[in-house]
Symmetry: C2
Subunit: 480 residues, 2 copies
């Protein structure tokens, strides 16, 4: 933005356009409920409106904003609408958006401590704060043999956990000579698809991922896990990794980590615990029971980018033994060597995940924690859980709907009693209306609606309207 | 930002703080040359200044900005300083920062077409534009069997390429039953460390990565590659993947892709071409020779976040056969099923990379291309290359310095003739001065300085000052 540097945006223009954009975003949130939550465009609509060929000459920023408004916005599904109840949330907030802006403005790389010390140290610091805020085991603090790192997603975190497990189980030899041991990994039938993806990526193979059956609450049955591990050992295989879930995507099922952990400890398996959305609940002491058994975990992750008001991407990944992770992912070409790294006194986060480069993501997390304070975060988590519980009670009290799974926190799984086809059409009607957005799953072989309360600005009136709308549409469908 | 929602940042406050932050960023760029490029803090300095425990109560945003300025900024290495010549650049620009801000404000997820159609379609569209802008082979366009996707980094892109190669070589069986074939991968001794990392992650093992020797220009010797592949086949192994580099990190060496490609075609190997930084040069017709042989490539990547004024992260990864990539990385849990995906009429980018969730990264790329236009981007690439060539000529003309490698584009590798220890100290003196930031490599067993011209605002005067400073410090060292 140096004045006079041809083609670059000038400092004055950056100020002008930046402020206009800040206002645009504020206006967007002020009016977000006017947009249909789920985009109504058809495949190809957006591309058809864009010029086929790239521009030869530069254009004024106003053109981009105009086209964004006219051509892109209709193709947006509004994840930040308070009427967004689909999937799990990916909620954002004012301080997080500003943190992301500041990070973009600085444009620094945190691959090594030396490439921007504050980028590394603030990350370590804020992740240590989170250990306290959530009352996680001390072993996840950087002052011990463990520590935390920000990854993009829980998918990547699970992959890193699996890789470290693979290496530990093979004496760090798979990295060297390739994967020739017959390793086996375990998770429940309800675990996130990223576990299967990680098992494929790591070369272990889907056939060697055992999907352990769940109980009536969609939680892993530890006795079956124990049995399967024994059988695999008896067959000459090498069990190496168990992924337990605190809050499955499908139904928010909570695996019995204490029992699973004891089994892992006895058999020497790496225990990874994925609490991608639900982990945030542990900000409140009354929900900390979900963390029972974490003392057994070798690694743990949760996503502030889901339910903790911190813009995507921000997955917090903690390990009890950082040396195992670092040994698994370490690379050291000459052009990255530097005194600070060689002194051993610093963390180089490049060795804690797959990519080399990394953004300054700790900034937004720092802003969020300081803006809300622990009490502000607790307030909203409690409110979301209370609203989901209220919704679950309405379902229970209704003669036309039923709950499909327990509702431990902020996800309600429910369905109309008139069967799969009715529920499928109900979902489509609701989402097409644009007034709210829900998604589905299959539980007990039945098509099931999911309503997750977690968007930053969702309040009682949004959940009440959702329930009204669901009842109204179901009634119309019955009559019509 | 709904008014009255306790603890959330209000719309008014967001506008106020957002505009203050926009001004802060503009001021930062206006004054960026006043900061020491390489942060001067010592390990632990930043953390020591931060409160040990997280805040119980929320704080005004002004506090965060104040602490950012006082505690964080001294720990920043200024990657956006025009005096940053280290590593490869990770350059940013006004339109890209604003694109990142808008993406953060929208907070949408692009894992499926359905979760925000515009997020997917704009990405496909802009990547198709890039195929034209760079004159890449048509097979990388989405209208063919291929297509492009934005990944975080070239490390992740190379990993995905390797995984697809692994699956193709094993009839897509490694994903299923694990990796038991004895696969072999190839790259040069000068390739980026991420290739070794990918080989480890994928379970192939470092021992099965052949590092092919290079010629005097640090380019892979194709006859040695051919010989090694033959030897491996003769030994009963299964060659599967070759990673060629256009512009190595160490010296900007350019592998002979036409020869390598012919070998790969004959042997049926997947050819991945990594042009992370140098790929941007192909915006200018006169530098497109670097893309010779890309017609053989199964996959290709370059990083607009390095040299194309687009904020990190933004790696563009192109494949000639998207079906192979998708089959390798596809997952389909019930809760992600939707009509658009099942119609086959849309792209779901979740199956093109490791993570599930994804930001709207195409926005910043769209803003950059439209703001600069092709001619604006060409202008700056040409200017950077011309400045590096000028610097190389000064080195050539100097009696105290020598070039350590060819300078095809914007990276100059050079050293003082007084040996390793002198150069090591020279580098340390220069970086400690805060006036510029260079890094090093080892070429021909000698400690070598690297100067890469690619930061957005680097102009003639910065490169001239760098050369003056380098000469002055070297003179002082010789005398003193």
């Amino acid at each position: 933005m140096t004045v006079g540097a041809k083609y670059h945006m000038t400092s004055e223009d950056f100020r002008r356009h930046g402020k206009a954009l800040v206002d645009w975003i504020a206006n967007y949130y002020d009016r977000i409920e006017e947009y249909p939550v789920l985009s109504q465009v058809k495949p190809g609509d957006v591309r058809a409106a864009l010029p086929q060929t790239p521009p030869q000459h530069g254009e004024p920023f106003e053109n981009m904003l105009r086209d964004f408004q006219n051509l892109i916005l209709p193709g947006i599904t509004h994840w930040q609408s308070p009427n967004f109840f689909a999937f799990f949330p990916a909620n954002a907030s004012g301080p997080a958006i500003l943190g992301e802006l500041l990070s973009a403005g600085l444009g620094v790389q945190g691959m090594l401590w030396a490439t921007s010390p504050a980028c590394t140290e603030l990350e370590t610091h804020v992740l240590d704060w989170l250990v306290e805020m959530l009352e996680l085991p001390e072993k996840f603090k950087s002052s011990t043999r463990g520590g935390g790192v920000i990854q993009d997603t829980a998918s990547s975190a699970s992959l890193c956990a699996l890789l470290a497990a693979r290496e530990r189980a093979t004496g760090f030899q798979s990295n060297e000579r390739g994967l020739y041991d017959h390793l086996v990994a375990y998770t429940s039938t309800q675990a996130h698809s990223s576990i299967e993806k990680a098992v494929k990526v790591a070369g272990i193979g889907k056939e060697n991922l055992r999907l352990i059956e769940v109980d009536e609450n969609y939680a892993m049955r530890p006795e079956l896990l124990k049995y399967q591990i024994k059988a695999d050992i008896a067959a000459g295989l090498t069990p190496c990794f168990v992924a337990a879930t605190i809050g499955t995507t499908s139904s928010n099922g909570i695996d019995p980590v204490p029992e699973i952990g004891a089994i892992c400890q006895q058999a020497g398996l790496w225990l990874h615990v994925d609490a991608a959305m639900s982990g945030t609940a542990a900000l409140c002491p009354e929900f900390r029971y979900i963390q029972a058994g974490l003392e057994y975990a070798d690694s743990y992750c949760f996503n502030p980018h889901k339910w903790m008001f911190t813009n995507f991407d921000c997955d917090c990944f903690f390990v009890a033994d950082r040396a195992a992770l670092i040994q698994t992912l370490s690379i050291l070409p000459e052009y990255l060597r530097n005194q600070a790294s060689e002194s051993g006194a610093v963390i180089d986060y490049r060795d804690w995940h797959i990519p080399l480069g990394r953004r300054f993501r700790a900034l937004k997390l720092w802003f969020v924690i300081r803006h809300y304070g622990v009490e502000g975060l607790q307030f909203h988590v409690r409110q979301h859980v209370a609203l989901a519980q209220k919704f679950a009670q309405w379902v229970l009290d209704s003669e036309h709907f039923e709950l499909a799974a327990p509702t431990p926190l902020n996800l309600v799984c429910f369905r109309n009693i008139q069967g799969d086809e009715f529920n499928r059409q109900l979902l489509e009607h609701l989402n097409r209306s644009g007034e709210l957005y829900l998604t589905h799953t299959i539980l007990d072989s039945k098509f099931t609606l999911r309503l997750c309360v977690g968007q930053t600005n969702t309040q009682a009136r949004h959940v009440e309207s959702a329930w009204q709308r669901i009842q109204t549409v179901a009634n119309e469908m019955r009559i019509g």
